[in-house]
């Protein structure tokens, strides 16, 4: 088995790429995909910690399950908002969605 640091470094790289995507990309769906990347990196981190540091309690694995469930709820809701935004504004650019109401 590879040491735990490998997993931590890998998830750090994925997380940072996700942060760049959230900050730089302007398409709302792409921002959401970058958030998914970040959540995945976090889950990988949790599971790696759980497997290497405390396999008896499996706490990190349970946490990863909850992260996945909340991510599923988040992606469904966020895509509904994006579709609504596109229908009202015919844009998916987050820079153009700057007003709270219209």
């Amino acid at each position: 088995m590879v040491p735990m640091e490998n997993y931590l470094v890998l998830s750090g790289i994925i997380f940072s790429l996700g942060v760049y995507g959230v900050l730089a990309r302007r398409n709302a769906v792409l921002v959401l995909m970058s958030v998914e990347l970040m959540l995945n990196a976090v889950s990988l981190n949790f599971v790696a910690f759980s497997a290497y540091l405390d396999p008896d309690k499996a706490t990190g694995i349970i946490f990863a399950v909850f992260v996945i469930a909340v991510a599923a709820a988040e992606v469904g809701l966020a895509l509904a908002i994006v579709i609504r935004l596109f229908r009202n504004r015919s844009t998916a650019n987050v820079d153009e969605a700057a007003t709270m109401r219209w």
């Binding site: 590879v2 735990m4 640091e5 490998n6 997993y7 931590l8 470094v9 890998l10 750090g12 790289i13 994925i14 940072s16 790429l17 996700g18 942060v19 760049y20 995507g21 959230v22 900050l23 730089a24 990309r25 302007r26 398409n27 709302a28 769906v29 792409l30 959401l32 995909m33 998914e36 990347l37 995945n40 990196a41 889950s43 990988l44 599971v47 790696a48 497997a51 290497y52 540091l53 396999p55 499996a58 694995i61 349970i62 399950v65 909850f66 996945i68 909340v70 991510a71 599923a72 709820a73 992606v75 469904g76 809701l77 895509l79 509904a80 579709i83 609504r84 596109f86 844009t91 820079d95």
Partner: protein, 167 residues
């Protein structure tokens, strides 16, 4: 030894496709790279010999979430609406700076910290039985709250995305 070589191949591939998600010029390419990235992370769970999370990853991320994202991309193509697809904004250089700083910090912390109780080569697999016992004995309340959260989120999604014919 073979496992380690395979691990490194997968790790490099995951980093490459994850970079593809954020750097690809067209959003459909990003979505395809995202599928590959999620599948790669699922393979990482298999390397950790935690099959349960790997299966959940393939099912929920590889199946449901990807389909949702592709559907949203289809419904929000800006080229059809006669406007150009946005790529990166003026924030891109600052975003790159923040992400690079964060990456350096995370890697530095991960490598330099001496993790207490690190089993290293002796790490054992977590059985599905163990996960189930922990889940329903110690995490029963969060489990039920998550169920309520999912229900509320999906009803909310339907309400938000619904066509309003009355106005």
């Amino acid at each position: 030894m073979t496992t380690e070589v395979l691990w490194w191949i997968f790790a490099v591939a995951i980093v490459a496709v994850s970079a593809g998600v954020v750097f690809a010029r067209t959003v459909i390419h990003s979505a395809i790279f995202l599928i590959l990235s999620l599948a790669g992370v699922g393979a990482m769970y298999l390397f950790l010999t935690i099959e349960f999370i790997a299966l959940v990853q393939f099912l929920i991320y590889g199946g449901a979430v990807t389909v949702l994202i592709l559907l949203a991309l289809m419904l929000t193509r800006m080229g059809i609406a006669g406007r150009p697809e946005p790529t990166t904004g003026v924030q891109a250089p600052f975003g790159a700076l923040v992400a690079a700083g964060l990456m350096a910090t995370l890697i530095g912390v991960a490598v330099s910290t001496a993790w207490p109780g690190d089993l290293g080569q002796n790490a054992v697999a977590v059985s599905i039985e163990n996960i189930g016992e922990q889940m329903f004995q110690n995490f029963g309340a969060p489990f039920m709250i998550t169920a309520a959260l999912l229900l509320v989120a999906f009803i909310g999604a339907i309400v938000i995305a619904r066509q309003e014919d009355e106005d």
